[in-house]
Symmetry: C2
Subunit: 422 residues, 2 copies
C-alpha cells in the first residue's frame, strides 16, 4: 500500500551521466512498495508547473537500465530558477497544487546550485502550507561548483573527455609542427571556475608536456605574459597546446569572448575565446594555428564517460530514494572522499541549507605558481575522477545504443497554467 | 642476407589510424629476411631530403604493437609536395642520393594524393637514373578522396567520431530546447568534398532525426533556403542540428569561413563557418544557438576509432610490404569492397598512375534531393566504415596508453641539405 507518489525532475545543463542518476532513482523507487508512481516532470520544473508529468512506469525495465549509458536529459531539462518565496509565492503555491493533485509526497530535483535552492524553498513552503512533502536534491553539474560534495556527477566525464581530447590533439600537432601548425588552442566550459581547464592538465606530467598553457578564469588574462609563454614553448618544444576556459577575462573584467569582433554589418559577434587567442598568436608571433571548440560535445560525450563518474551519478540517485524512504527532508546525497589513492568514496546526506546558493571555488593552490598549469594537489584531487572507462553498448551500425523514452504524459487535473517569464 | 633497406614516411595530415599502417609495415618488414633495416623519415619527405632517418629497429616489439592504437604520426609528417620532375629535378636527385647512401631499395610513402604523386614520380626518376628502387604508396586520408580505393584509412574513424558526436550533442539540445538552445551547429573537415559531412547523416534515420540539416561543399550555400529549413525544423521538431562542412561556399565562390569578420583593429578573421552560421540564425530567426568546432579532435580521436578503419589501416601497411617483397613498383594497396551488408573487403594493388592527381568526388546521388541530407545509397556506402569499436588500452590514471617512440636518428653520410621553399 503506497504512501504516495514520487516526482523526479532534471534541472540546468544536462551531462553525460545525469540519466544514470535518473536510473538510480527509478530503479530504487520501483523496488519500494511505499512509493506508488514515479513521475518525471517534462523539461524539469517547467513541466511541474504546467502539470506535464511523465509516467515512468510505462517504460520497460530495459529502457530504464539503458538510461545508465545514455547522455542528455531523458525527460528534458530547463534553466529556470524560481524567485524567492516573497517575490513569487504564487508559483510555489502552484507547485504544491500540482503535487497535491497527484499525491506527490517526494520531490527529487536533480541539478546544481539553482535546483538545490528551489528544493530547499519548496520544502519550507510545503511545511508552511501543511502539505506533507519531502524534497531531496540530487547533485549534478559539469561546472563542479556544488559545495560539500567532493565532486559533482557530470564533471568527471567532461574532465575525462577534455584530458583525452587534448592528449590526442596534441599528438596530432606534435606530428605536424615541423612544417605546419605550431599552436593549438582548445576552449573548455567553465564560466566562473577553472575545474575543466584544470582537468586538461592531467594530460601532461612535465611542464614541457601538453597542454603547455592553461588559462584559468580565476586569473586575469595577461596578454604579454601569455604571448611570451607561447613563444618560449614553441622555441623549446617546437609547438604549443593551449587550453582556455570560456570564462577568462581581461584586466577590465570583460570576458575575452565578448571583446568584440564585428561582422560586415557592424554586428558584434560572440566568437568564442579560442579563435580570438589563436588569431592573437598569429598576429603577434606569426605562428600557424588551429583551434577547437568542443562546446556541447564535452558535456554529452557518454562514449568516453568516466566509470567513476557514472557510478557516482547512479549512486546519488539511488541514495536520494533511500533518504526519501527514511523520512529525510531538505537534504542532498553528497559524495564524501575517504581516500585519494586508491580513490574511496561514500554517499551521505547533507542539508540543502548548506549547499544552496554557495559556489565551490577552485582552491588557489591548484594553480601552479606561473599561472599556466596545475599543481600536485590539483592532480591528487582530479585524477581519480576520470579513472575507469564505462563504454555504452554499440549497435551493429557503429553507433551507441542510446535509448529514447516514450515519455507519455498523464492526464491533467488542474486548469492550464501560464509561466509568465519563461 | 638482406637485399637492402626499407624507408617508410608519413605524409600530409595525420589521422587516428595512420600509425596502424606504420605498425603493419614495420611488423611485416621485421618478419622478412630480405629486408634489412626499416627506416622512418623524420617528419616525412622533409626528413628524407634532410637525411634525418629514424632507425625503427631500436623500438621494442611492444612499442610497435602500441602504434596500432596510437593516434597522430609517430614519426612526424609534413605537407610538402615535390614539384614536377622538370621543375625540380634536383630534389628528386637528392632523394636518390640519400637512398643510395643508405641502401634503400623500397620506399613506402603513407599519405594521400600528393604522396601518391611523389611516389609515382620517384619511381620514374629512379628508373631513369638506374637506381634500383621500388616505390609503394600506402593510402591514408581523412578527406576520403583517393580514387580507386573503396575508402581511405583515417576516414572511417573520423566519420564514426562525427556521427557519435552529433548523436550525443543532439540529445543534449533535445533536452534543453524548451527553454534554452534551439539550434546547434557543428563544423566538420572537408574542404572540397562532403564525405565527413555525409557521415554525420548516419546519426539519423528519418528527416526529423538529427542532424536535420547537412551543408555539403558540393552545393552552393543558399542562405534563404537554409534559414527556411532551420525555421521549419524548429517549428516542427522544436530544435535543429546543423552539420556544416568547412568547405561550403557562397554563390560568389568564396568560402563562407572567409567572408570576413573584422576584429577591433580591422584585421580580417578566419572564424570558421559554424559561428558565422549560428550568428546568422540568431540575427535572422532569433533562436538561441550553440556551435562546435572539433577541428583536430575529429581526426585524432583514436579513443572512438572505427574497428573497420583500424583494421584496414593495418592491412594496407602489411600489404605494402608484401608488394615490395613481390617486386611490385609504383603501386598502392587499395581496399576493394566485395559486399556492403555484411561488409566484405580485400586488399589489392593499384597503379599509382591511376591514383595520383585524381580526386574522388562524392557521387551526386549521395545527397538527398532537397540538398540537406544523405540518401540510402550514401548510407549503404558509409555505414560499414564506422562499424565496430577498437578501444585503445587505458592506464590506471584514466588516460589512453599511447606510445611515444624513441625515434633515434642514424648517422648522416651526406652533406647538409637545405630545403629552399619549405
Amino acid at each position: 500500500m503506497s504512501a504516495g507518489n514520487l516526482l523526479y525532475a532534471q534541472s540546468g545543463g544536462v551531462t553525460a551521466v545525469i540519466n544514470a542518476s535518473a536510473a538510480g532513482v527509478i530503479e530504487a523507487a520501483r523496488k519500494s512498495k511505499k512509493i506508488g508512481k514515479v513521475y518525471a516532470a517534462k523539461n524539469g520544473i517547467i513541466g511541474a508547473l504546467r502539470e506535464e508529468l511523465i509516467d515512468t512506469s510505462l517504460e520497460s525495465v530495459e529502457a530504464i537500465k539503458a538510461l545508465r549509458h545514455t547522455p542528455g536529459g531523458a525527460f528534458g531539462s530547463c534553466r529556470y530558477k524560481l524567485k524567492s518565496l516573497e517575490d513569487n509565492r504564487e508559483q510555489y503555491q502552484r507547485l504544491i497544487d500540482v503535487f497535491r493533485a497527484h499525491d506527490i509526497r517526494w520531490f527529487l530535483y536533480n541539478g546544481g546550485n539553482d535546483s538545490a535552492d528551489t528544493s530547499n524553498k519548496l520544502s519550507q513552503i510545503a511545511g508552511k502550507l501543511g502539505y506533507p512533502l519531502q524534497c531531496i536534491g540530487v547533485p549534478k553539474t559539469v561546472d563542479n561548483d556544488l559545495v560539500v560534495t567532493d565532486t559533482c556527477p557530470g564533471f568527471g566525464s567532461a574532465a575525462k573527455y577534455t584530458a583525452v581530447s587534448i592528449t590526442e590533439a596534441s599528438l596530432d600537432v606534435a606530428s605536424m609542427h615541423e612544417s605546419s601548425t605550431k599552436v593549438f588552442v582548445m576552449e573548455v566550459m567553465g564560466r566562473h571556475a577553472g575545474w575543466l581547464a584544470a582537468a586538461a592538465g592531467l594530460a601532461g606530467r612535465k611542464e614541457t608536456d601538453a597542454p603547455h598553457i592553461i588559462l584559468f578564469p580565476e586569473l586575469v588574462f595577461d596578454e604579454a605574459k601569455f604571448l611570451a609563454k607561447v613563444k618560449a614553448t614553441v622555441e623549446k618544444v617546437g609547438w604549443c597546446t593551449v587550453v582556455v576556459s570560456e570564462g577568462v577575462r581581461n584586466a577590465a573584467g570583460k570576458f575575452l569572448s565578448e571583446v568584440g569582433t564585428r561582422d560586415a554589418f557592424g554586428h558584434s559577434q560572440l566568437g568564442g575565446v579560442a579563435p580570438m587567442l589563436a588569431e592573437l598568436v598569429k598576429r603577434e608571433l606569426g605562428y600557424k594555428y588551429h583551434w577547437a571548440m568542443p562546446d556541447y560535445l564535452q558535456r554529452s560525450a557518454r562514449h568516453i564517460a568516466s566509470k567513476t563518474d557514472s557510478e557516482q551519478a547512479y549512486a546519488v540517485g539511488k541514495a536520494a530514494v533511500a533518504y526519501a524512504l527514511a523520512g529525510l527532508n531538505a537534504v542532498m546525497p553528497v559524495i564524501r572522499r575517504r581516500a585519494s589513492s586508491p580513490y574511496r568514496w561514500e554517499i551521505e546526506p547533507a542539508a540543502l541549507n548548506d549547499i544552496a546558493n554557495h559556489e565551490k571555488k577552485m582552491p588557489a593552490d591548484f594553480i601552479r605558481a606561473d599561472g599556466f598549469g596545475i599543481t600536485a594537489a590539483a592532480r591528487r584531487y582530479l585524477a581519480p575522477l576520470i579513472a575507469g572507462e564505462a563504454y555504452p553498448p554499440y549497435r551493429a551500425d557503429g553507433l551507441p545504443d542510446y535509448v529514447v523514452l516514450k515519455n507519455k504524459l498523464i492526464r491533467k487535473k488542474l486548469p492550464a497554467y501560464r509561466i509568465a517569464d519563461k
